[in-house]
Subunit: 433 residues, 2 copies
Amino acid sequence: MSQLFSVSLKRCLHEIHCNTSGASLGPEGTMSVVRLEESRERIRTELDNTVNFWLKYSHDTVHGGFFTCIGRDGKVYDELKYVWLQGRQVWMYCRLYRTMDRFRKPEILEAAKAGGAFLRKFARVSSSSGQWKCAFCLTRDGKAVKIQRTIFSECFYIMAMDELSRVTDDKDMQLEAEQMMEQIIYWVRVDSSGLGRPQLPGDFPINSMAVPMMLLCLVQQLTEGRGQEVFQKYRELGSWCVQQILQHIQRDGTAILENVSQDKTELPGCQGRLQNPGHALEAGWFLLQYSTEWGDEELQRIAIDKFMELPYQRGWDKEHGGLFYFLDVDGHCPTQLEWSMKLWWPHCEALIAFLMAYSQTKKPELLDRFFQVFEYTFSHFPDAKSGEWFGYLTQEGKLALDFKGGPFKGFFHVPRCLYMCERILDDLLANKD
Amino acid sequence: MSQLFSVSLKRCLHEIHCNTSGASLGPEGTMSVVRLEESRERIRTELDNTVNFWLKYSHDTVHGGFFTCIGRDGKVYDELKYVWLQGRQVWMYCRLYRTMDRFRKPEILEAAKAGGAFLRKFARVSSSSGQWKCAFCLTRDGKAVKIQRTIFSECFYIMAMDELSRVTDDKDMQLEAEQMMEQIIYWVRVDSSGLGRPQLPGDFPINSMAVPMMLLCLVQQLTEGRGQEVFQKYRELGSWCVQQILQHIQRDGTAILENVSQDKTELPGCQGRLQNPGHALEAGWFLLQYSTEWGDEELQRIAIDKFMELPYQRGWDKEHGGLFYFLDVDGHCPTQLEWSMKLWWPHCEALIAFLMAYSQTKKPELLDRFFQVFEYTFSHFPDAKSGEWFGYLTQEGKLALDFKGGPFKGFFHVPRCLYMCERILDDLLANKD
């Protein structure tokens, strides 16, 4: 793939003389503009292909909702419907429909509505505590198969409902999303017993980075453009999420640890030493968005230095390229069997993180990182034959699992990454001089 | 490791002229005797080393019980105590102490007693249903961290207590094991709600091979040499377990599937198509033991043809050697990220299975299988530097995770395999002419 960034003669003839003062594209000049334009072109094409893949193969026109287990060639290999992925697909369709002209198509809107109807009809199940829980997994016709004792199915349900309410202008649906949000806030900040986990003396509450990250994402989702009332409603929660995320900076600021204690200290054992570089990078761009919204330069600096640079330094495989899935901060072998595999989604998060960081700072080293990750990602994950991306490679970069959709891979990380990067690139290139 | 089986001059000079009629070592003759003697020597040495490794590194002399997370060099990298592995270590120590003279040492007995005391004091927790459950994981000082909604912690608790009661002649402990067994039988055959899983309309009961396998193992454990009363008590259960296991022969007898429906048919989707070759091979030698006990030649044939030959044919990696962890019977990619990895324990089960099958039938192809697995196993898993075995390799046979003990690897599969193989080899070689 190194030819991806070759500067063609034709492009050279149309060189754009950009400002090198840092006000727009930064000091790296013409060559970067060309590379950025080439990467945007590739990203646009991949986004179109990805959308088409899921439009073509994932819709269940009999029972509604989306098939999520889809093989390399588009064939459904399991009819189970994973609720995280149902919610994410509704969200992604709506977001594309709402914010990108070329996806404002009835086909996409109708698919999103059908997915939302399936979720509303089947995903919510009443738990033993009398509170609403969302199932983790449904049969093709909507019967609950499994419920996780966590908040994440509910979170993706909210994302779906809020974004769908925006394109359908359905106030009841927006309200439903906010009501589910209240339930989650109660579980996280007041009493988690409704999640169904038994209270055990050795299982003290911890701060797992996924929880404040997910809530911060939902705050941004629920408040975007909604006006002062909603904004004020979630303001304190957003600030709390940021503080909770920042507590994961440990070891005198030299590492992001995935799990910390409730009093901000390192936990013992593997759980405490766990690093998930892709997750830290995702937190990085969540924090960067928040810092922009609030004009918080200190937070911007922390987001980049701690949640992007550290995971990159520790997480990039210097031998084979790509980001490790899990690492132990002291160099012990992680106990997760898949720790050394290269998964698609950490690379998606890294692309968004470094491009967003570059767009805000114009620091050339951040653009270098973006291109490094871009090179690895686009030379390893996309399937040129059947479309969409593979998700799981060995440490050496060999294909390990060949499906396009599975229990944790759906229409989400790939299109969200391509969508976000395309938009950032549009802005960057529109302001290039 | 191919020199492992080189026939040394010295050995040639002491060749044993064995009977080739099939009555003892089978038609392959002298060469096999030498190879069997060499393999027994290697197995004895490995068993001694493995026992020494765990005696040296795993005992918690402060809080009791065993550390189970032990790094490649013997260092404890996490103090959590996994209950499956506590129970298994007690069982293995006691079995070695009881049945092999060279392990009848006070050090081993005391360690087993201390482990048993830790289990009795801390592993049992009262569940919300008022029934006893065993924790899955404890803190170093015995506080419950996690409870699984399955039967397996309880099963290994029973194995530990029954075997410990044999070496200590403690009738109360034997009774406690039988009482816990009653609880498990109730969960499996009458009402599973005490396990804590919510009843969901899409989560219908299935026949997962682990359950009847585990119960059959416990029947054999509880009844061995106990006399008629206990034997009769579990007789019907043993027969039921065998029938449940046989239901996993699917696809017109061409495949062993890990999960089937309660009415003996294939389940839809990935769950239904899942194959776990190591597990099938383990079931194979469980069935073979049962067939010997009952003199059931038809079951012996099925155990070998279906539960050994099929998993070998489907599960052996013809490119890189070794047994795959998971496979899909239709050739789809499994969704388990670790599906193509080579784990130590399926190879342990294969060694026992093929050697036991050979010892009962004297069919040379079964001995060939044993040697093939032996060659792969002993050239890949043992750590010549620090002792014990590595547990997790890539498909290509490269070391992927380097610890000796982890959440699912303890003092069990390696020593059980070496112990069983040494005993079978002792019998074979004692009856060689």
